[in-house]
């Protein structure tokens, strides 16, 4: 049994493997014996407690990896049961409790030094049978004094565990020309419930946290399992600062609790000079999908709304550049307004289709809104050639910078001279001659009609649009616009004639000029572009005007995902959810009331 002596000064050493199942007896040369047993072995949160009894007095310590650990506390405990077993008087205190701090992963031994015999007994503590957090179930074994010590140690340990931790993954800022700014910080933080986060600038100034939101971060929660404050939604954290933070400034995130302030992490701020790049980075933060509505509403709705409004005011003031090829009709019935963004691949086909339509040639003016400076040059060359080839006069207007769907269409409308405005996407193609007249007479015949939309077909001939309706997505908590019957054969469309619908797509819709002006045109509240069409239909409805779907007029819609050009790591979907929140903030009751309407 004797193998190794950690204390060479001692004459004897005995090693014992299992002292929990039954009492162990060690016999000595003189024929005497020592009996002992371990009753409880406890290990949790870096605290080890061992309780049991020895037939004669001993002093205890722990040994971990050949290293002796001095116990925090060792006590003798009165054990009448042991007195009865050993047949000793109850005044003899055979019980002991030994409490020490040690790392949990180590293999441990209890060392019992029998002073009278110059002997150390080394007892292996089998951690597989160690009780976790069950010290309280052995009050008789440990005794009141040792238990108190154990509790206080454990309490201190838990506090040490719940010390604050944080890291930031994103620090993105933007400032517009009016000086409006926004800085978004995002990462994770483990805090106790009574703690708050503060942000400090490089110069030590306190930067007020304008808004803060917590959200689940499964990865962090797994890493620090079970230590996240219960009142927060999770340890993911996103913070917005309205104060301007410049590029390269290093911010410090600090946790404050009961007057104690602890610096948690630092991050260098990345300032984006382009609004769309800023938007892309902000909406690339991987907030969980089902948390987005809450986070966006609380954090982004106001500040981004303010930035977007400021931006659109600035853009609207920029003087546009205009041009014309050929001679458009002097007083056109219809102005066809088409924004161009990303490329001009479909321009030739679109103009070929227009060139086949008699109404188009005599009574319509075509206005292209070049909403992308990178295509202006190629557009001007191409439009010049196409005019020579097809003799379709074209007006064009270039707004200097990308204004988005609404801004570009509003710019087109500002130069249009027609009594009717036909807003059309660059991937929509005239199919039936007489289509423009049919749509216009729908408005002429019904003074209560405000907007008329048409049937749109995919290139394979199936329905792409037959009116829109609103659908609530419970998991995301947003109202979305959906296209009923999309993908179906046109004959499956139940609409048999022009009829009111909740909304029609902005890919192709006709309005009277005065109605368009009366509602203030396309709303520029939506960033880059989403929901402007339903917004316009709802604005028209607020004026008492209906939105009509005309199933007898068909156009082809190639519906390329124009915005996919901006690159997509989920940011575009998140931005759509943000725009949906803007949309439902304005129209919540209208959206829910028209939900059941057939579309």
């Amino acid at each position: 049994m004797t193998k190794k002596n950690p204390k060479p000064a001692q004459a004897h050493s005995a090693e014992v493997k299992d002292a929990r199942q039954r009492p162990v007896s060690l016999r000595f040369a003189d024929g005497s014996q020592v009996q002992f047993k371990l009753d409880a072995v406890f290990l949790a949160h870096g605290v080890c407690a061992v309780g049991g009894w020895f037939s004669e007095p001993a002093t205890f310590s722990l040994e971990a990896d050949d290293e002796e650990i001095t116990p925090r506390r060792q006590t003798t405990v009165s054990r009448p049961d042991v007195n009865a077993f050993l047949q000793t008087p109850e005044t003899r205190r055979h019980g002991f409790a030994c409490i020490a701090e040690c790392a949990p992963s180590r293999t441990l031994f209890l060392l019992a030094e029998l002073g009278q015999r110059n002997t150390v007994v080394r007892i292996a503590l089998d951690m597989t049978t160690a009780d976790e957090e069950e010290a309280e179930t052995y009050p008789a074994v440990f005794g009141a004094e040792a238990l108190r010590k154990l509790r206080s140690l454990l309490h201190r340990r838990e506090n040490a565990h719940s010390r604050m931790r944080a890291a930031l993954d994103y620090a993105i800022s933007y400032q517009d020309e009016q000086g409006e700014s926004l800085c978004v910080l995002s990462g994770w933080a483990i805090l106790s419930d009574d703690a708050t986060l503060e942000v400090e600038g490089e110069d030590g100034r306190q930067i007020p946290v304008s808004r803060i939101c917590f959200w689940p971060r499964a990865d962090i929660e797994q890493l620090y399992g079970g230590v996240v404050g219960k009142t927060q939604r999770g340890c993911g954290v996103t913070i917005t600062l309205d104060e301007c933070v410049l590029d390269g400034e290093e911010l410090t995130l600090a946790g404050c609790r009961a007057g104690e302030r602890q610096k948690l992490c630092r991050i260098e701020v990345n300032q984006e000079s382009a609004f769309h790049t800023f938007i892309k980075r902000v909406f690339s933060i991987p907030h969980p999908w089902t948390e987005l509505a809450g986070i966006f509403e609380k954090l982004f709705l106001k500040p981004l709304g303010r930035l977007q409004a400021g931006r659109m005011t600035t853009l609207a003031a920029l003087p546009p550049e205009e041009g014309v090829v050929g001679e458009p009709p002097a007083s056109p019935d219809i102005s066809v307004i088409i924004p161009l963004y990303g490329n001009i691949d479909m321009l030739t086909t679109q103009l070929l289709c227009f060139s086949e339509d008699a109404v188009f040639k005599t009574r319509a003016e075509l206005i292209y809104v070049v909403d992308d400076s990178s295509i202006l040059d190629a557009f001007r060359i191409k439009i010049d050639e196409l005019f020579r080839l097809l003799q379709i006069p074209v007006r064009w207007v270039f707004g200097c910078v990308n204004r988005g769907f609404a801004g570009a269409n509003n710019l087109g409308a500002s130069v249009a001279r027609g009594k009717f405005l036909l807003f059309m996407n660059s991937d929509v193609f005239l199919r039936d001659s007489g289509a423009l007249d049919a749509l216009a007479s729908c408005l002429r015949d019904d003074p209560d009609a405000g907007i008329v939309g048409c049937r749109l077909l995919y290139p394979d001939g199936s329905l792409q649009h037959a009116g829109m309706r609103f659908l609530y997505r419970d998991a995301l908590r947003i109202w979305t616009n959906v296209h009923p019957y999309a993908g179906c054969a046109p004959e499956l469309d139940p609409a048999s004639g022009p009829a009111p619908v909740p909304a029609v797509t902005g890919a192709c819709m006709l309005l009277r000029r005065e109605d368009f002006d009366a509602v203030g045109g396309w709303s520029t509240d939506y960033i880059i572009g989403d929901f402007e069409d339903s917004d316009l239909c709802l604005k028209m409805r607020a004026q008492g005007k209906k939105t009509i779907y005309h199933p007898h007029v068909s156009f082809v819609h190639l519906e390329r995902q124009t915005f996919a050009l901006l690159g997509d790591d989920g940011y575009r979907q998140r931005l759509t959810i943000f725009n949906a929140i803007t949309h439902q903030q304005k129209w919540r009751s209208e959206l829910s009331s028209s939900q059941g309407q057939p579309a």
Partner: protein, 417 residues
């Protein structure tokens, strides 16, 4: 037409520079129109690319023959490289030539914009368009063969995207939409075979707007049957044309290997073919592997390419002409030539071949791509003098260029005298 028309023939190449079937057909029609009493004047304008950049310049090549310098444009949308030149140089050429009729062949690399420009110059110009292949229907060089080598029976957006995954369905929709626009300006379409005509009708050209008119065959001298010097009978077969994966030659060699040894000793196949060296390596290997043992036995004789005017010499020594193509073959000139020289034809029962050969009358039609069917056909014909005489007697004189030009002029409403 009250007075004699001026006719301009427009082609993608001039036979002086490029000897393709389309170029030859266009040029011989131009020559016929020029000498026809019902035509006031005929002109020929052919695209050429001499690597002088896309100047778009037009120059006089010979009397009434012009060359138009145009580089390759956009093959997908059939857009000319230099649209500005089409709008200016070409338009002014048209105003100078003042054609009443323009006969287009193969607008490849010229750009379909020329159709719009022609009508813009003079809306009264009548436009006729001979469709030599399937370019408007099929982006795979107008072959209606899938990019994996299988025959394509119907083109639709999904099928086209499967062949060209880098293109979108939207792009193919636009391609067809643009072609339909330009084709709406054409007064009449001409298909060299009924098979090709039906393909275009299925694609969307109204049946009354497209007529089948065979390409005419140039005048060829008559040729007596091969004099027989031994008792082996009518046992000499010959293949004429390019050696490409679509022509079915390995299949024919496989068929010969199926034949009994006695028949193999009798049969001779001559291959008068070119361009094997330009083919993909796996095809070359397949051809050469199958050819080597047959050449050794003396069954197969690979003779190589020939000049078109030497065809009579090559035909003189054979009895049967084989056309084992696994592709459609819209209007194979080999079949016309074989008939002109009085040689019965064994051809795949497919596309234009099935139209030109009358089974059991002037030749045999064989199940396409089936080596056993070809072995059976060879076994049936090899040395069968009686069948040869019967089919030889059934051969009709092929449609000549004069007849073809007359038929074209009639279709265009040009008076005979």
């Amino acid at each position: 037409m009250s007075s004699r028309p001026r006719i301009l023939v427009l082609a993608h190449g001039h036979p002086d520079f490029s000897l393709g079937g389309g170029e030859i057909a266009a040029y011989s029609l131009f020559q016929q129109y020029a000498r026809h009493p019902g035509v006031e004047e005929a002109f020929f304008l052919a695209r050429i690319d001499r690597g002088r950049t896309a100047t778009g310049g037009i120059s006089l090549h010979a009397d009434h023959e012009y060359l138009w310098e145009q580089q390759r444009g956009n093959d997908f949308f059939m857009e000319g490289k230099n649209l500005y030149a089409t709008l200016t140089t070409f338009a002014s050429f048209i105003r100078a030539v003042r054609p009443d009729i323009v006969h287009l062949h193969h607008a490849v690399h010229l750009g379909y914009e020329i159709i719009e420009v022609l009508k813009r110059c003079n809306p009264r110009i009548r436009l006729y368009f001979t469709l030599h292949e399937y370019i408007p229907i099929c982006h795979n060089q107008g072959q209606m063969i899938k990019t994996d080598g299988r025959l394509c029976h119907v083109s639709d957006l999904d099928a086209c995207v499967r062949c060209f995954p880098q293109k979108s369905a939207a792009a193919f929709w636009q391609r067809k939409r643009r072609f339909q626009h330009y084709f709406s300006l054409i007064d009449g379409f001409i298909a060299p075979s009924e098979f090709l005509r039906q393909r275009y009708i299925a694609w969307g050209i109204a049946p009354e707007r497209i007529r089948t008119l065979e390409n005419g065959l140039r005048p060829l001298p008559a040729l007596p049957p091969r004099p027989m010097k031994d008792s082996r009978g009518r046992c000499r077969f010959a293949y004429f044309g390019q050696i490409t994966p679509f022509k079915g030659l390995p299949l024919l060699l496989q068929a010969i290997s199926f034949l009994p040894g006695k028949l193999q000793k009798r049969l001779v196949l001559e291959v008068h073919g070119a361009n094997l060296e330009k083919q993909p390596e796996d095809f070359r290997t397949e051809f050469e592997t199958r050819a080597a043992p047959l050449e050794e036995q003396g069954v197969l004789r690979v003779i190589g390419p020939y000049e078109p005017d030497r065809i009579a010499e090559r035909m003189a020594g054979v009895d049967w002409v084989v056309v084992p193509s696994i592709w459609w073959e819209n209007s194979p000139v080999t079949i016309q030539e074989a008939f002109a020289f009085g040689r019965p034809v064994l051809a795949s029962n497919l596309g234009g071949m099935a139209e030109k050969v009358r089974h059991g009358v002037d030749g045999l039609l064989v199940a396409p791509g089936n080596p056993q069917a070809w072995a059976d056909a060879l076994a049936e014909t090899c040395g069968n003098n009686q069948l040869w005489d019967q089919l030889h007697g059934g051969i009709r004189k092929p449609f000549s260029v004069e007849e073809s030009a007359a038929a074209h002029l009639q279709l265009m409403g040009v008076a005979h005298d």
